[in-house]
């Protein structure tokens, strides 16, 4: 049995690191659920999500990733439909991000991320990005879901879209001129964005710049988040022994601020450990991307890598006051079904790419 597991681990390194990350997430959710707000239901729910996610992943695993290249336009249209739905029937505090489906909430923007990556990769796999109209159409592909998500509003995910676009553009061979031009246009149009933002979003950005601006509301979260991380020290307070999260100083510690739970209970050491695991995980992905010669696979891999890395980095940075609080989950670790399932599908797609590249 153990031998079997070891073999699996060696052959499918990516799965190994993935499930290591997920286990850490479950442990953190478990300890977080022991606070004055009993959140055991969340822990159990996440276990259910994991099982469901694994089943879905197993199905995707059987498929050839190149099928996705053909199916991309269909998925793309379906997800656009879902994003429009969200604007009408969506729920969530202050923003509409979820669609209620029976007993769970479905968050289309998570799926939109992956599907847009696949669609863009499929489109560019046969086209030359250097030609202006191709670039324009690529912008179009990413722009529609981007605007819908901005409208929800889900600033964090929208920002990830931008990063993903630049990464794919670069990987596809976009010229420095193109990248620079788009970057400058983006920077110049950000004031327009500022006026399109909802008041609470502006407030968040201002709060990020000066947390003491709003000590009762958003600033409160950030101040408490930083205290929580700092109080962990080098070795942490010990597993299950954190006080900040247990006493509910910090709201949302099971989702966007789960990093604080780690930092408080396992300290700087725990943070280093998590970063090491993430780093290994990402290195393997980079390895997979450059082991394949299939252009579609490489572009898709790049998009997935960028999305995962930037989510992890932005989430950690925001809890430490290095980035505005935008509501991005920590991949594989934060509570949330949609995020976990999408991340698992990403991993399976990467593993598929790896297997196929070995055949060449």
């Amino acid at each position: 049995m153990l031998k079997h597991l070891k073999k699996l681990f060696e052959e499918r390194k990516l799965f190994g690191w993935t499930y290591l990350l997920i286990s850490i997430g479950l442990l953190l959710l478990f300890t977080a659920s022991k606070g004055i707000f009993m959140r055991e239901a969340l822990f159990l729910k996440q276990c259910l999500w994991l099982i469901l996610g694994t089943v879905i992943a197993a199905f995707v695993k059987k498929a050839d990733y190149r099928d996705f290249q053909k199916l991309a336009p269909l998925f793309y249209i379906i997800i656009l439909f879902c994003l429009v739905m969200v604007l009408f029937v969506g729920r969530g505090s202050g923003a509409s991000r979820w669609i209620r489906l029976g007993w769970f909430n479905f968050q289309p923007s998570e799926f939109a991320k992956l599907i847009t990556i696949i669609t863009l990769a499929a489109y560019l796999s046969e086209k030359d990005i250097r030609r202006p109209h191709i670039l324009l159409f690529s912008l179009f592909i990413i722009g529609i879901p981007f605007l819908f998500i901005l409208k929800q509003p889900d600033l964090g995910t929208a920002f990830i879209f931008i990063l993903v676009f630049f990464a794919i553009l670069y990987q596809a061979g976009g010229s420095k001129g193109q990248i620079l031009t788009l970057f400058v246009i983006g920077v110049l149009s950000s004031p327009v964005l500022w006026f399109m933002m909802k008041p609470y979003q502006r407030e968040r950005i201002l709060t990020f710049l000066n947390p003491m601006r709003d000590p009762l509301g958003k600033g409160y979260n950030l101040i408490q988040s930083i205290i929580t991380i700092g109080s962990g020290g080098f070795w942490g307070r010990g597993f299950l022994r954190g006080t900040q999260t247990k006493l509910a100083f910090l709201p949302e510690y099971h989702t966007d601020f789960i990093f604080c739970v780690l930092a408080e209970e396992l300290g700087f050491f725990g943070v280093m450990l998590l970063l090491f695991i993430y780093y290994m995980f990402f290195r393997i992905i980079v390895g997979i991307i450059y082991s394949t010669r299939d252009r579609f696979a490489r572009l898709m891999g790049t998009g997935i890598l960028t999305a995962l890395v930037s989510q992890a980095v932005i989430n950690m940075c925001m809890t430490m006051g290095l980035f505005p609080v935008v509501g991005i989950p920590l991949p594989f670790i934060s509570y949330g079904g949609s995020s976990l399932i999408v991340s698992l599908i990403c991993v399976v797609l990467l593993v598929n790419i790896e297997e196929n590249s070995l055949m060449f």
């Binding site: 990464a167 930083i226 700092g230 991307i289």
Partner: protein, 576 residues
Amino acid sequence: MEKERIFVNLTKIAFAIIILRSFYLQVIRYPYYRNLSNQNCIRTVETGIPRGTIYDRNMRVLVKDAPSLHLVFVPYDVESPEKEASILANIIDLDKVSVMRRFKTRYGNPFDRVFLKRRLTQEEVARIEEYAARLPGIFIQEGLIREHVLGKNTCHVVGYTGEITEQQLLSYRDRGYKPGDFIGQDGLERFYDEYLRGQAGGKQIEVDATGHQRKELGKTGSVPGDDLVLTIDQVIQEIAYDELGDRRGCVVAMDPRNGQILALVSKPGFDVNDLQSYLEREGHPFLNRAIKGMYSPGSVFKIITELAALESGTIEEYDRIECTGQIEVADRVFHCWKEEGHGWVDINLAFPYSCNVFFGTVGLKTGVARMLEFADMFDLGRATGIDLPGEKDGYLPDRREIDPLNLSIGQGPILATPLQLLSMISTVANGGNIWKPYLVKEIISPDGGKIKEIDPVIKKTVYISPENMEILRRGLKNVVLFGTGGQARVAGVEVAGKTGTVQRAHRELEMGTHGFFVCYAPADNPQISLVVFLDSASSPECSAIAGKILQRVLVPEKKPVEIQDMEEGTENAETP
């Protein structure tokens, strides 16, 4: 592979930043944060949500925020609930059991402040401060209360604020309310809550072991809400309140030319800052009778009966009917309020005398359907749409539910709010326009900028032939000149109106009557219309109140006219 290197290096840089930051927070600044965390010493203090000021039409202040001191506690900081509760019960007017109950409730965040008692008196503040050392976790906090400049006078118009309920928290999720917030619960405070409500100010403080402030970490200024400018005229409002005395009932005054409400008083009222003690008082102090009370209109309905009969041609102006004091229909005897009868009368006499036999006979001829059609035309049975929450629709019966005799004199299962009857008389006054009554004419921001101006709205126009309208208006004048509404006469101004007294025949315990008087003045150039409703009285008292109000409003310099002995009668419509 250059690209590969770039992706890996970017990741490395990002991770390095995270490690450095984490090192700074967790190793270098560790003692500081560990200390903050160990003492759990950060508390949030809110200083109340400011609300906008409410002005009358001439910018006189009716309601404003006033500073006040509240008693609060922080669940986490209360050391010995039992002991502290008994100290509190001894020194101020609080019940130990209820304090204990509040202490023991589980709160969402044990560091949030929970109210124990609002509006502390100077004396209470002094006593609490004296015992402060023995009351860890219990504090005095600045806050805001609503001050009604006219006291109880404006309670029904303005309404009151109260702690948000669970239900409201759920249904207004998106508006950013928090548990414990005060929001408008009735009246204009509720209807215009979105505008009136400002943003809470507050501060985050570092506290010592007993929860007392050590250092202020940050502060947010509060943002005041928007102000309302009402159509209410403070002077008329006060006159109405004054003249209503301590009777149960209501007075509403309106400008019939645009639907602006000039005064709205309902009695008994309540103290907006002491709701608790009015909960069990008699006379339904929280009921705004003007919009939520539904009553049979009684003889006031004869306005509709007359119009229906004349317009449909059932009778002509000079058709006469003999009133012998009663008529028999089938096996029932139907009485006029005047036992000996009015003799031979036409509509020009029957209306001022409010002759039941005449109108009953006319009603029989006109038919229920036609009368109901006219009632519906005047929007009876439909809420007027005034900008107050909870307005009632009144009730217009189905034609099978009511017989023509009862309907013609406004008895039986037909119900109207005083405001609906005011709307009806105003429509007669202005010649046929049904204006939507409203209370707020302007919303302004705290810096004086205009946010919204509310224009008068004509809901619909009723067409009545000029000749018949003239007959009705002459009748209304005569009601005051020599008919049942003589008490409403005002020297120097001609008043036109109609009385109504209804016997609450089917209630065994209360056999009293309620009375109405609806009117407008000056009769030939109406500037104000008025409804006076009294809960247990008859119409002459109502018309007397109306007369005094009109006299003080329209000709304040003159003394009230001496009213000669009039033929006074209560026009009780008896339903056997």
